[in-house]
């Protein structure tokens, strides 16, 4: 019994050395082909990522003023009136311990340490605001906003940071052109 088992192992090893076992060919051709074709239509339904150059931004538009009303309704209870009070992520202003525009900052951080960092201070591309708001906000009802509403909220958040005028109407053309302070400060530990 033992010899028989040993014999099988030896044959197995021999086959492996000769490259007969299929697993030895993974380095080159793939053996696995169980994936099913994914149609363009299905891709378009699921590909929700917006890129920094604006690619994949949808049609639609929204104004700073429309965004303000939406913000007061759906965002302010977590992010605060000016986007700096928390408890949820700081949306406006610089990052760090102190700021002249927010004398109470250190007290806010003591209560909510994540307020050390800020969307307006760190994020390098305005397109990410649209992307994240559309996929994840509001926290209690993610993906419940339509494209026009997301444009409007993005416009208002950019305005809270003093990056766009209060009469701006945001769309797929002008959103990628908004310049964010976080871009200038970026260094990449992994090259693009």
């Amino acid at each position: 019994m033992f010899n028989e088992w040993q014999g099988q192992v030896s044959i197995g090893l021999l086959l492996l050395l000769l490259g007969v076992f299929p697993s030895s060919s993974f380095a080159g051709e793939t053996l696995t082909d169980l994936g099913l074709p994914l149609s363009s239509l299905e891709i378009s339904k699921h590909a929700i990522t917006i890129f920094p150059d604006g690619s994949n931004l949808p049609a639609g538009q929204g104004s700073v003023q429309e965004g303000k009303a939406l913000y007061q309704n759906k965002c302010m209870m977590c992010h605060g009136e000016k986007g700096i009070e928390g408890p949820a992520a700081r949306l406006a202003g610089s990052d760090g311990w102190f700021s002249f525009s927010d004398p109470l900052r250190i007290l806010r951080i003591d209560k909510n340490p994540v307020l050390l960092i800020s969307v307006g201070g760190l994020w390098p591309h305005a397109t990410t605001i649209f992307d994240y708001t559309r996929r994840a906000m509001p926290h209690f009802a993610p993906k419940s906003l339509n494209n026009n509403e997301v444009y409007a909220l993005t416009a208002y958040l950019l305005h809270l940071n003093g990056l766009v005028a209060q009469d701006l109407v945001l769309d797929k053309q002008n959103l990628p052109k908004v310049s964010m302070p976080g871009k200038e400060r970026s260094v990449l530990a992994w090259p693009e």
Binding site: T32, P37, P87, D95, R185, A189
Partner: protein, 429 residues
């Protein structure tokens, strides 16, 4: 008491040479002394006179899914304070000071969730690959379970592990679980992602893959294609059983050695691209702010790090003085741990610790060293070096590189202050 004649010191402060310690055949009298057993009365003839109750009754039956002993109920994860305090954004810390070896039990594995834990029906879950590929593909769970699988033991660490020591001006009196609870070790089994990417046919211009989860927030990170074609796994199993929902059931991306946030849970979509997307987390929370004010992005790898878990913060040494085995964990996202040194005199002298059990690449590595405490106040430190010669920096050296409020990727040397009454406290040296 220790028989110390033949035991050589390894460094000052009572650190002992392990070999001479083992050869000395020491007897820990307090732990192992034999109790005098009263002889049974003549004529009784029964052996149950001096036995505990559980040795004299039949035990109970087993249950379908086993649980720890009632006496170990206090060993559990603890939810860290977070802002905002909601169930959807939560950080659950592992009690690593109660762990031995290098594997964290699944129910105790740390978990950080930005948008809550989805309850996914695996029959309705799909993994999609598209973008810069020859054939966009989708996979259901039945198909994926038929693919060739690999298993590997690796640590997983949140980029923000030990953040309090990175930013707090004074050392907070916290325990190992609070300071180091965002690390765990497990055996992850699943499909090398390169099998699936090759099946789809990655185009030559592909450089990044935007990876997405199926949770409420559609968590998303951009990952360089080199890593995904190297050792990335679509993990379906953790420590021999299917993933728990809080670890990404039915499947997660596992990137050995890379910050936890990139190991996307509830994996559902891979978009192959030539550029990163600058998703929410790579834009802000998971960047490092440097001392120069620059924002460092895509610093994926968790650097070499270690911590003494036995003894550690908030514990009290039971005996005023005497023998203890110092034990801890070391790890590096770059490869294997080569050495761990321990100091029992605030870093003046160091001794090499023994690496116990498996020493694996990008895995928790257990270290131990015998120590005879003389009962005076002292400070214990551990310093790990990996196979590439990367050495843990001091806290001060780490701080020089980053802005005072930057807290990710902290890997400074941990110091535990031992008070003369035996209480252990987090400290900076």
């Amino acid at each position: 008491m220790l028989k110390t004649k033949t035991i050589k010191p390894a460094a000052a402060g009572g650190l002992l040479d392990r070999r001479s310690f083992l050869l000395s055949g020491i007897v820990l009298s307090s732990a192992y002394s034999l109790k005098a057993v009263s002889a049974p009365k003549a004529g009784e003839g029964r052996i149950d006179t001096d036995m505990p109750a559980w040795a004299k009754t039949p035990g109970h039956n087993d249950i379908e899914y086993g649980l720890p002993s009632e006496y170990e109920k206090h060993i559990k994860r603890v939810q860290a304070k977070s802002s905002p305090e909601t169930a959807t954004f939560s950080m659950w810390h592992t009690p690593i000071e109660n762990q031995r070896g290098i594997i964290t039990p699944n129910g105790l594995h740390f978990s950080v969730n930005h948008n809550g834990i989805p309850e996914i029906d695996p029959q309705q879950h799909t993994l999609r690959i598209h973008g810069l590929v020859e054939k966009p593909l989708k996979f259901d769970i039945e198909s994926l379970l038929r693919y060739p699988m690999v298993s590997a033991i690796h640590f997983l660490e949140c980029a923000g592990n030990t953040a309090p020591n990175a930013v707090s001006l004074t050392a907070l009196d916290q325990d190992c679980q609070e300071l180091y609870g965002q690390i765990s070790g497990a055996e992850w089994s699943g499909i090398p992602l390169k099998f699936l990417l090759k099946e789809a046919g990655v185009k030559p211009e592909a450089k990044w893959v935007v990876v997405e989860g199926a949770d409420g927030g559609s968590h998303s990170r951009s990952i360089p294609i080199e890593k995904l074609m190297d050792d990335a796994i679509v993990a379906l199993y953790q420590n021999g059983e299917r993933l728990r929902p809080s670890q990404g059931y039915p499947m997660r991306l596992f990137l050995p050695g890379w910050e936890g946030n990139t190991n996307v849970k509830w994996l559902t979509r891979l978009e192959v691209t030539d550029t990163p997307a600058y998703t929410k987390d790579e834009s802000g929370l998971y960047s490092d702010i440097l001392d120069s004010g620059k924002i460092q992005r895509f610093s994926f790898t968790m650097d070499v790090k270690s911590v003494i878990t036995h003894p550690s913060g908030k514990q009290t040494l039971p005996d005023k003085k005497g023998f203890y085995e110092i034990s801890g964990l070391a790890w590096s996202g770059h490869g294997k741990i080569k050495t761990v040194e321990v100091s029992a005199d605030e870093g003046k002298t160091w001794a090499k610790a023994h690496l116990e059990g498996l020493v694996l690449s990008k895995s928790l590595t257990r270290f131990t060293i015998p120590w005879r405490w003389d009962g005076s106040a002292t400070t214990l430190l551990s310093r790990a070096t990996d196979e590439h010669g990367r050495v843990q920096p001091t806290r001060a050296l780490w701080r020089e590189k980053y802005a005072s409020y930057s807290f990710n990727h902290y890997n400074g040397i941990q110091a535990w202050y031992i008070n003369s009454d035996g209480r252990v406290e987090n400290t900076y040296v």
